[in-house]
């Protein structure tokens, strides 16, 4: 007699063959852990991290025994931290919040004081014993990047990091961007991180990668039969990646004056979007397979020469103007910014990817502050049909087909194509097929931090940047920064509330193209 069904082994989280995993919905359970947030009194913790952790707890994705310890200089106690952490959102369910808030704790200390790490260690051990958690820890660096080396040293000296072995409790670290200031500092920081943590324990966070639409880039390309065959230089004319912000520097002059939009946006968000758009299909949807392919794209982007920087990049800085009906000052009038500042608040660049798929297809990127509106989009512009069949009917220049991936706001995807307008004459108008997360799925996608915190808890680093990706991205940025430091090309002014300097328009018009309106 044969068994009642064939048992096909599948693998569980630990890699052990397990037929009970076969056919199951493999929602992995988050391990109980303690999340230590350095910089707990800061804006990031209040606006993003605590709401994300609360949302995870509310949907039961966070283990109920997990806890959060905030660590910062302010002399708060647990209750003060809980009050400060309480999100302002009207969505808050008071009962759920109170339950979650009971798992929030606070330890006051400075990053430089070794004794404070020892105290933190004792608190961790006591909390783990009290809550019955096995000692799993996530250290979240929500601090200015200057503090990273000091915190790393403090953790290492106090012995708060467990080894990365497969058995026993784990320790992971989440590090916010910017990861270094240039290639040398990034390498130096990587070396410091690796003095305490194995690469498998390191989660370099770029919150753009947690956005649903960004994850959907791969699903769109590789989960559908109709797009990937077109995703190459035979059908794609060019690609535009735009990250536009309507806000200014929001009181962060100290940071932004040193970073500029080059380091603040291109090194991370924009090159991540570019790699996801251009990468080859990975052999498996697993962290290293995906990241291998992203790294290959960065390797295929030869760092720009000085002449190429002059020809292919635009740097701009906003002057006074009006955004959304409100008058705003120019960059040099922002608090903390000197009147002669040469820091760029806008960049545009043209990249070429030296590989079989993308040879001859320019990738234009732009990002700026105080632009007309906030929008992030990837625009794939397709080639025209090989023969203009409708030219004789007066339809001389048809609009190209355009696939827009809207990352924010109103996440979604739209495809434009030509359609005959009703009437006796042959008139072709562009029309749009539109997918919107809200109207299709009935809810806005979850916050990026929510997804990324859960992934870190689950040990899935697919949506986090690997060491080589970070360093390869810095190679690109360093090449541009070196030329810009010499003042070429010059800094172009643009009025706040516009779409950037006219030089950015020329970057495309001289190729016979134009930026698509956001």
């Amino acid at each position: 007699m044969t068994p009642d069904a064939a048992a096909t082994p599948a693998r569980g989280a630990t890699g052990v063959e397990n037929p009970l995993r076969e056919g199951s919905i493999t929602l992995r359970a988050a391990d109980p852990c303690t999340i230590v947030v350095f910089g707990a009194s800061g804006d990031l913790t209040h606006r993003k991290l605590i709401p994300a952790l609360y949302a995870l707890a509310r949907e039961k994705s966070l283990h109920p025994k997990s806890a959060v310890i905030g660590f910062a200089r302010r002399p708060w106690d647990d209750e003060a931290f809980r009050r400060a952490a309480r999100p302002d959102s009207a969505d808050l369910d008071p009962h759920e919040w109170n339950r979650f808030a009971a798992s929030l704790f606070y330890r006051s200390g400075t990053f430089e004081n070794a004794a404070d790490y020892a105290t933190l260690g004792r608190s961790l051990t006591a909390l783990e014993r009290e809550r019955g958690t096995p000692g799993n820890r996530i250290f979240y660096f929500a601090t200015p990047p200057d503090a990273y080396p000091t915190i790393l040293e403090g953790l290492r000296t106090a012995g708060l990091v467990h080894d990365a072995g497969p058995e026993g409790p784990w320790t992971r670290v989440i590090i916010e961007k910017p990861f270094g200031h240039d290639l040398a500092s990034a390498r130096n920081l990587n070396a410091q991180v690796h003095a305490s943590f194995d690469e498998r324990q390191v989660y370099r966070i770029d919150h753009y990668l947690g956005k649903e639409t960004v994850q959907n880039i791969l699903v769109l390309r590789l989960g559908n039969g109709i797009f990937e065959p077109l995703w190459n230089n035979r059908y794609v004319d060019h690609v535009q990646i735009s990250v536009a912000e309507s806000v200014g520097i929001e009181g962060r002059a100290n940071y932004f004056e040193r970073a500029g939009v080059l380091r603040d946006m291109l090194q991370n968000h924009m090159l991540q979007l570019l790699t996801l758009t251009a990468m080859e299909p990975p052999s498996r949807f697993e962290a290293d397979a995906v990241r291998d392919e992203k790294a290959k794209v960065l390797r295929a982007l030869a760092p720009l020469s000085r002449d190429e920087v002059i020809a292919r990049t635009v740097r701009g800085q906003y002057g006074p103007g009006a955004v959304a009906g409100v008058s705003v000052p120019g960059y040099c009038e922002e608090p903390g910014v000197g009147s002669g500042s040469q820091t760029e608040s806008y960049l545009a660049a043209k990249f070429e990817i030296d590989n079989w798929r993308w040879a001859g297809v320019p990738f234009y990127v732009r990002s700026g502050k105080r632009l007309a509106k906030r929008a992030t989009e990837i625009v794939i512009v397709f080639r025209h049909p090989p023969y203009a069949l409708f030219r004789s009917a007066g339809c001389e220049s048809l609009e190209a087909n355009v696939l827009r991936l809207r990352i924010q706001p109103d996440e979604g995807i739209s495809l434009s194509f030509g359609s005959k307008a009703p009437g006796p004459s042959l008139h072709i108008d562009p029309v749009r097929m539109d997918f919107n997360y809200l109207t299709s799925f009935g809810a806005d996608p979850p916050e990026a931090y929510q997804r990324l915190l859960l992934d870190c808890n689950l040990g899935d680093s697919t949506l986090f940047a690997r060491r080589d990706e970070v360093e390869l991205a810095w190679e690109q940025v360093d090449a541009i920064a070196a030329a810009w430091q010499d003042g070429v090309p010059g800094l172009s002014k643009y009025p706040a509330g516009s779409w950037g300097p006219t030089e950015a328009e020329r970057l495309l018009t001289r190729d016979g193209r134009r930026w698509y309106r956001l």
Partner: protein, 376 residues
């Protein structure tokens, strides 16, 4: 003709009900579609954004007394999965009334964080006694053609003929064996599921078992317990209620099919299987003090060369379950028990597009075990 908002949109999770014009009226498909369009045009007189959303046509025939208790489930369901919802019921009517009455409404939810309402259309069709055979054709005339049709069948609701016609137009039928008190009803559902396939027939009881399946799978993810998988000798499933609930049958059958056990015989509450290396006894044991018909604990044991003794217990709505190992190495693990509400299970099943072979195999065996005569 102006629709009105009857509940304030004050709290995030509070639904807003919009009513079409003129309340319930004799069914007229074209008029109803016009009313729906008018409702959308006139909605949100405050000028706020309103999104009409639908991912599926969902048909729900219910006895009238079951509609109200199901309201919170449908509110949550439409929040997670906006749909054109058809609520169907029978009611006594005065002579002279139209045999089929209809009412158009919308269930709306505030978009989290503000910024508008997301609305699901709801069409309530009430058939006079003897007229419910008209209902399927009324539904067919209002179905959004390019969206899937889901029939949620929780109780009889309509006559067998109407029910069969609705089933014929559905791409998917969702049922819940856990609501069946008669074991013969459970067996019928699982037999259908096994024969028609899990793509077409869904059992919410299976979705509800997910935390238990995850926990049992996790036992054998443990490197020191994995080897005992082929040597299990005894598995006891403890349950509440007066008779084994659907979940207990499905869980036992899932274990047996995934671990390649072959059913041999049934004596009392014991079912004997041939495992790959030894005989396995599955006991389905009632806990007399617990009235709720749910799985309470699973105890798995092997005394072979790879010993295992583990008991997983979960109490009611606790957020965690306890996994207590006595062998091979004594330890107690506390694991999240990710209980899912009914609406979440419904949405999870509708989102599943692949056939579930594990469920099909388990359902086939569950039907066999639940109906198995005792071996003399």
């Amino acid at each position: 003709m102006t629709p009105k908002t009857v509940e304030g949109a004050t709290a995030d999770r509070e639904p807003v009900l919009l009513f079409g014009p003129d309340g319930e009226r004799p069914f007229d498909a074209a008029a109803l579609e016009r009313e729906l369009r008018a409702m959308w045009k006139a909605a949100r007189p405050d000028g706020g954004a309103l999104y009409r959303a639908a991912l599926a046509n969902v048909i729900l025939p219910l006895d009238p007394e079951h509609h109200a208790p199901l309201d919170p489930v449908l509110v949550e369901f439409t929040r997670r999965h906006p749909s054109r919802l058809f609520r169907l019921q029978r009611a006594d009517r005065a002579a002279g009334d139209a045999p089929l009455q209809a009412r158009a409404t919308a269930l709306c939810h505030l978009r989290p964080g503000g910024g508008g309402l997301i609305c699901s259309e709801q069409i309530i069709l009430t058939a006079a006694s003897g007229a419910d055979t008209l209902v399927p054709s009324a539904v067919a005339s209002l179905i959004v053609g390019d969206l899937p049709v889901v029939l949620i069948r929780l109780d009889a609701g309509l006559s067998p003929a109407a029910d069969a016609a609705l089933e014929a137009m559905a791409d998917m039928t969702v049922e819940d064996s856990a609501t069946r008190t008669d074991v013969a009803d459970m067996v019928r559902l699982w037999s259908r599921l096994a024969s028609e396939g899990s793509g077409r027939v869904r059992d919410i009881a299976w979705a509800r078992l997910m935390p238990w399946r995850e926990l049992l799978a996790e036992v054998f993810d443990q490197p020191d317990a994995a080897a005992a998988r082929g040597e299990l000798e005894e598995v006891t499933i403890h349950h509440g209620g007066s008779a084994p609930p659907a979940g207990a049958w499905l869980l036992a059958s899932w274990l047996a099919t995934r671990l390649a056990w072959t059913y041999r015989e049934h004596r009392g509450s014991r079912f004997r299987f041939d495992g790959p290396r030894r005989s396995v006894t599955v006991r389905i044991e009632r806990e007399p003090d617990v009235a709720e018909p749910v799985v309470l604990a699973v105890h798995a044991r092997s005394d072979g060369p790879q010993p295992l003794d583990v008991r997983i217990a979960h109490g009611g709505r606790d957020a965690t379950a306890t996994m207590e190992f006595l062998a091979p190495r004594a330890r107690t693990l506390e694991r999240a028990f990710r209980y899912r509400e009914f609406a979440a299970c419904l949405v999870g099943e509708i989102h599943r597009h692949e056939p579930n072979e594990s469920l099909e195999h388990a359902a086939r065996l569950a039907a066999r075990l639940a109906a198995a005569p005792e071996t003399s």
